[in-house]
């Protein structure tokens, strides 16, 4: 049995570092059992995209009322799996006109009570409404963001298009951080609720259904430890 994972004793790895190091293992050509490790310091999840729910140190994200020397460490959204209900609804609604058309052509129902151009306009408008539903649902997910910075925890709530609420607390006011991950789907997709209890006016922050909750509380606890030591 060849040994695949042989650690390099000369290169110590920081276990508590918030950034995950990506390690490339390159087999040597002389058939030896040793493998060569090439550590990179780039975090695994540092790039944002349209479906990103967990981002460490996103370089392209900026937020309002950023403090001096404040650095964004974590950007969190609900896990993308939580979007499945509205996606299924949209697919179902999008399938209604073709199904009605098939039923009409097979003679099971009759849709001849309106002229063709009226039907065309209604169907086009119907699809515009469905697209609007998809877009607003996506925006609601996209702008419900929790941020962890080097100085604060910020919770941005955005729901029903017209409601927005931004709450922030300093790390020094954080009293306790915990997470809950209940259910099969949450365990399979590794997401859960992170609860941050504070001594501030807003007594608790809840990051709902965020990916890798264990990692999140580790990062926040590390930050609190750093603040207490400083």
């Amino acid at each position: 049995m060849p040994d695949i994972f042989i650690g390099n004793s000369s290169a110590p790895v920081e276990e508590d570092a918030p950034e995950e190091e990506v390690v490339e293992k390159v087999p040597q050509s002389d058939g030896a059992k040793k493998t060569q490790e090439a550590p990179k310091t780039t975090p695994k999840h540092n790039h944002t995209h349209f479906f990103a729910a967990y981002c460490e140190k996103p370089p392209t994200v900026d937020f309002k009322e950023k403090l001096e020397n404040e650095e964004l460490l974590l950007l969190l959204r609900r896990h993308f799996v939580t979007n499945v209900p509205w996606i299924l609804k949209a697919i179902f609604l999008a399938l209604v006109p073709p199904v009605l058309g098939i039923l009409n052509s097979s003679g099971l129902i009759s849709l001849n009570f309106l002229p063709g151009n009226y039907f065309t306009m209604l169907v086009v408008f119907y699809y515009l409404v469905i697209f609007g539903y998809i877009f607003t649902s996506y925006l609601t997910w996209f702008y419900n963001i929790s941020l962890v910075t080097t100085q604060r925890i910020i919770d941005i709530d955005f729901s029903s298009i017209v409601f927005e609420n931004v709450a922030a607390t300093k790390l020094s006011q954080v009293e306790d951080v915990s997470y809950s991950q209940v259910g099969v789907i949450r365990s399979v997709f590794d997401y859960g609720n992170v609860l941050v209890q504070t001594a501030a006016h807003v007594d608790e922050f809840e990051f709902k259904a965020v990916p890798h909750p264990e990692k999140v509380i580790t990062i926040i606890n590390d930050l609190i430890g750093d603040h207490e030591n400083a």
Binding site: H49, D62, F125
Partner: protein
């Protein structure tokens, strides 16, 4: 015969007016969506995604207006 044709036409006019009212209201809703997406970009801005979100929100308004005009002319 004539009465039934007039009845159908009156029904179609009602459908047209209904569609115009609903599409006008929907355009107003799309304008709110566009404004809100802009407002949220002021709160948090991601340069990689904000451009496309703006484009989608704006193109929806354009399509909504196009449907309104088409309904006004064609129907």
């Amino acid at each position: 015969m004539l009465e039934s044709i007039i009845g159908i036409l009156q029904g179609l006019v009602l459908v047209k007016i209904g569609l115009l009212i609903v599409s006008a209201l929907y355009i107003a809703f799309l304008l709110v969506v566009f404004k809100q997406s802009k407002a949220m970009q002021n709160v948090i801005n991601d340069t990689t995604t904000s451009g496309l979100i703006d484009t989608i929100a704006f193109s929806q308004i354009v399509v909504g207006i196009a449907i309104f005009i088409a309904a006004l002319i064609i129907l």
